[in-house]
């Protein structure tokens, strides 16, 4: 099986192999083609041979009485069964690799809307219907839709994922070959579905840096998120800096909302008794539909921000929240207002990294 996977040459009728997945998926495909061709030829062959060999010779002729064989039944049940089970296991293994991003993958944000793809680099650059990437770097896309279901598909990478309103879906890959590759929307999304297409451009690292430098950057998602946090007065309830006690202390005088320091990745208990791990989807829902999850001990006071902030804004806020470190209770009083936090200098390496 490993020798199959090492295969990385261009096959006829296959797209270019431009991601680390491509040779794996193509090897699996070749296995499927191989046994299918074998059985198709076997059946077609037997049908033709029998139809010719046993052609009716005179109008009254009938067939013989050979019409049962337990041995044959068992054989042609077990052999296909083994083949499909092997195929299933192999396919499942590839599938798990397709959808389990590695820890160091650099995070990009994608918003699909009728009928365009809006992408944002962790360093702040934004693109429409395009995504420039450096070769050899594992990339994780966090995606959502502003309207209907879309689907992000790059044939050369052999992977896709639906892009759904109301939640985040993720897709990851490591581009392995510089080039320009088709990007398609593959879920019917309305009139201009066939035109919701674009290009993923994979560049050598130096080229990529040059490209980054050439694109004006308003601000990184993290910086934009910090700004939003301030503008929307999140700190009014969530700052934990006006003598409210340790993060998450319920019912403290004047405290209206739990501190958000170190919130990403933490396991918390909800009022319903359920324990959840705080991820991007949880944070998004807490901003847009706060009544859905109330942490135990806190009142359901938070208003919804739906309508005041768009999907990209939510992603930026989440970038900011992910950057907030854990703070011990004693340090809380000394913590400056979020808007004045000095952010580390922007650099492709440090931002967007998953905590």
């Amino acid at each position: 099986m490993l020798s199959f996977m090492a295969m990385a040459f261009q096959l006829p009728f296959f797209p270019e192999q431009a991601s680390s997945f491509a040779p794996e998926v193509d090897a699996l495909t070749l296995w499927l083609i191989a046994f299918s061709t074998f059985f198709a030829v076997l059946i077609a062959g037997m049908v033709l041979i029998f139809a010719v060999k046993y052609k009716r010779r005179h109008p009254d002729e009938v067939g013989t009485e050979f019409h049962e064989s337990a041995l044959l039944e068992v054989t042609w049940t077990l052999i296909p069964l083994v083949i499909v089970l092997v195929t299933f296991v192999w396919g499942a293994k590839v599938y798990f690799r397709l959808y389990r991003p590695p820890a160091g993958a650099v995070e990009y944000q994608v918003v699909g809307k009728q009928w365009m793809w809006k992408t944002q680099h962790p360093t702040g650059q934004r693109e429409i219907n395009e995504l420039h990437l450096p070769v050899g770097q594992a990339v994780k896309l966090t995606m959502t839709s502003e309207d209907v279901i879309h689907s992000f598909f790059v044939p050369a990478f052999r992977t896709k994922m639906d892009v759904i309103p109301g939640r985040y879906t993720t897709l990851w890959f490591t581009p392995t070959k510089p080039g320009r590759y088709h990007l398609f929307c593959t879920e019917l999304c309305g009139v201009e579905h066939s035109r919701m297409i674009g290009w993923v451009s994979v560049l050598e690292p130096e080229e990529y840096q040059k490209w980054l430098a050439s694109v004006p950057v308003p601000a990184t998602p993290l910086r934009q998120g910090a700004e939003l946090f301030s503008r929307l007065s999140c700190a009014g309830c969530h700052d934990g800096s006006d003598g409210l006690g340790a993060p998450g202390t319920p019912g403290a005088p004047g405290g209206r909302g739990p501190s958000l320091h170190g919130i990403f990745g933490r396991e918390i208990e909800l009022a319903s008794g359920r324990r959840v791990r705080v991820d991007e989807n949880f944070l998004r829902e807490s901003i847009l539909d706060p009544a859905a999850h109330v942490a135990v001990g806190w009142q359901p006071l938070m208003p919804t921000y739906r309508g005041q902030i768009d999907e990209e804004g939510v992603m930026q806020l989440i970038s900011y929240l992910k950057s907030l470190p854990e703070e011990r209770a004693a340090d809380l009083a000394a913590l400056p207002e979020p808007a004045t936090v000095v952010l580390p200098p922007s650099s492709a390496a440090s931002e967007g990294v998953i905590r």
Binding site: F13, P15, V25, L28, L32, S36, F39, A40, I43, A44, M46, V47, F50, A51, Y54, K55, R56, P59, D60, V62, G63, E65, F66, H67, S69, L72, E73, T77, P80, V84, T87, G91, K93, Y95, F96, L98, R100, Q114, D147, V148, I149, S151, P155, A156, R158, T159, K160, M161, I164, P165, G166, T169, F184, G190, E192, H193, S194, R195, D289, A292
Partner: protein, 564 residues
């Protein structure tokens, strides 16, 4: 057609019949005249003919859209149709073909006509319910036709995914949803009718394991129709309510979930594809037995496989949701179950193939459809295994690979079975034979045209061409042109039977009771049969497809059929 061409009516029950057959004077077609006698009939045979007219009409509409689509795809640019028109075209193609042709055709036409006769019954268990089913089918189709003519139909795809279908599109989702909803009851009632008929109305001596495999197949189909259809009904109701009243079942902003619709939709629509293929497989069993003059190999294996497919078919819907944000663990479970459902189909294909071994194989036209089915369904079924494979499906989901797969099983599978069955039972239904030459010509055109249309689409899918695109990158034009050329040939192949069948009604040679020399109760009565199917209720002593025992007619001694 030359009068000296060998007419199969000379062969019956293995003994040459010297008399020239005549049409029986009193048969179900001559028993009553006038429009009312047809529109208010409770005779299952006439209802089968009514379904034939209905499904042919809807097939024509679905095909017209298919031709529009294929002509648009001749060029990479979207030039023949506007983007909006194209979206309407593939949606209405899918809606008419799936709900108003593929699901009702074989059960409605061939099941209705042949099943009661094959078990030795006078009619189905609930003849009036049977007529009601037809009216529900036609009414559902009428709603859909109205939606098409008044508003261009819907543009959501036949799969109607929200939020596009619930919140964004302004197209005629509601009347179509209602049309499909009403049509669903036709399915449910037919399923109930057939099941009760098989349980309660078999002739004396017709035990379950003496039933023709066609009946087993229809029974399995009926299980799926009855258990599955209510789910699509309620799903469409939810969608219609969502559009009308904005309840928010599928609206994330209100706490709903668009992916919930996909689960509900596919919970029916996957078993629905087994509603489409099981009857076709049922026909193939009959054709292979008749034209190899041999009992189907592994009768019990084939019978139980039909039931197995029906049951397992309910457990695999999630393979349509591998990239929908469903959990990877759910994907794994559905992939395993989908692999398992392929096995009974494989068992059947092997058994049919081995039926030919040491058979007496005739190349009469219906058999060519059966042989074609064996090849095309094998390819279609195997590509289903491709799609069940998780790591591969991610790449080709929502591309032309999927389109090619389902057309191989639905056209290469279901339609081959339908046409084969129609050609096989046409002499029984009408008392006439059609031109063997034109029949074989149309069969060849269908086979060649079909493969040329859909095989290139596998390649397009692997290259990444998405579905439902009317404009595409230039490099895919050659394969698309091949596909359209194939579709044109296929179209001719489908039109020819209409012509020669109609011609045969007046000019075709008289068929006689058993033009194919086949075994089965339907061949022991006249062509066309009398209203009550048999002049005397048969008593069955033979096993199914027993070409070595005397036929019922021979056993009865007295002539069941009058010949000169």
């Amino acid at each position: 057609m030359s009068a000296h061409e060998q007419t199969p009516s000379e062969v019956s029950t293995g003994r040459a019949q010297t008399a020239v057959p005549i049409l029986p004077e009193n048969n179900y077609l001559t028993a009553a005249h006038g429009l009312k006698s047809w529109l208010l009939t409770v005779d299952h045979k006439r209802i089968g003919i009514l379904y034939l007219i209905g499904v042919s009409f809807y097939f024509l509409i679905g095909s017209a859209f298919a031709m529009l689509m294929r002509f648009e795809l001749l060029t990479p640019q979207g030039d023949l149709l506007s983007a909006d028109a194209y979206n309407h075209a593939f949606t209405m193609h899918g809606v008419f073909m799936v709900f108003f042709f593929l699901i009702p055709a074989i059960p409605g036409v061939l099941g209705n006509f042949a099943l009661p006769i094959m078990i030795g019954a006078k009619d189905v268990a609930f003849p009036r319910l049977n007529l009601l089913s037809w009216y529900l089918f036609m009414t559902g189709g009428a709603f859909t036709l109205y939606a098409l003519l008044s508003a261009g139909g819907a543009d959501t795809g036949w799969t109607f995914y929200p939020p596009y279908s619930s919140l964004y599109t302004t197209s005629a989702v509601i009347p179509i949803g209602l049309g499909v909803f009403i049509n669903g009851f036709a399915s449910i009632l037919t399923g109930v009718n057939f099941m009760v008929t098989v349980h309660r109305m078999r002739a004396p001596g017709m035990t379950w394991f003496r039933l023709p495999l066609f009946v087993w197949g229809q029974y399995a189909t009926s299980l799926v129709m009855v258990l599955g259809t209510p789910v699509i009904a309620i799903t469409l109701v939810l969608l219609v309510f969502e559009r009308l009243f904005h309840f928010g079942f599928f609206d994330a902003a209100k706490g709903g979930d668009p992916v919930l619709f996909q689960h509900l939709f596919w919970f029916y629509s996957h078993p629905a594809v087994y509603i489409m293929i099981l009857p076709s497989m049922a026909v193939i069993s009959e054709l292979i037995a008749a034209f190899a003059r041999k009992r189907v190999f592994g009768y019990h294996a084939v019978a139980f496989s039909s039931i197995g497919i029906a049951v397992l078919g309910f457990l695999v819907w999630g393979h349509h949701l591998y990239v929908s944000s469903q959990s990877v663990y759910a994907g794994v479970v559905f992939s395993l179950l989908t692999m398992l459902v392929a096995i009974p189909s494989a068992i059947k294909v092997f058994n049919w193939t081995f039926t030919l071994y040491q058979g007496s194989v005739s190349y009469q036209h219906p058999m060519l459809y059966a042989l074609g089915f064996l090849g095309l369904f094998t390819i279609g079924g195997l590509t289903g295994v491709f799609l069940a494979t998780l790591g591969f499906d991610v790449h080709v989901h929502d591309t032309y690979f999927v389109v090619a797969h389902f057309h191989y099983v639905m056209v290469g599978g279901t339609i081959m079975g339908y046409l084969g069955g129609l050609h096989y039972w046409w002499p029984k239904m009408t008392g006439r034979l059609y031109s063997e030459f034109w029949g074989k010509t149309s069969g060849l055109l269908v086979f060649v045209g079909f493969n040329l249309t859909f095989f290139p689409q596998f390649l397009l899918g692997i290259q990444g061409m998405p579905r439902r695109y009317h404009a595409y990158p230039d490099e895919w034009q050659v394969l698309n042109v091949m596909s359209t050329a194939g579709a044109s040939i296929l179209g001719v192949g489908f039109i020819l039977p209409v012509i020669y069948f109609l011609w045969s009604l007046r000019y075709g040679p008289v068929a006689g009771p058993n033009p194919w020399g086949a075994r089965g109760l339907e061949w022991e009565t006249s062509s066309p049969p009398p209203v009550e199917n048999f002049h005397q209720t048969p008593v069955v002593v033979n096993e199914a497809y027993d070409y070595h025992a005397p036929s019922q007619t021979e056993l009865a001694g007295s002539a069941v059929v009058r010949t000169r």
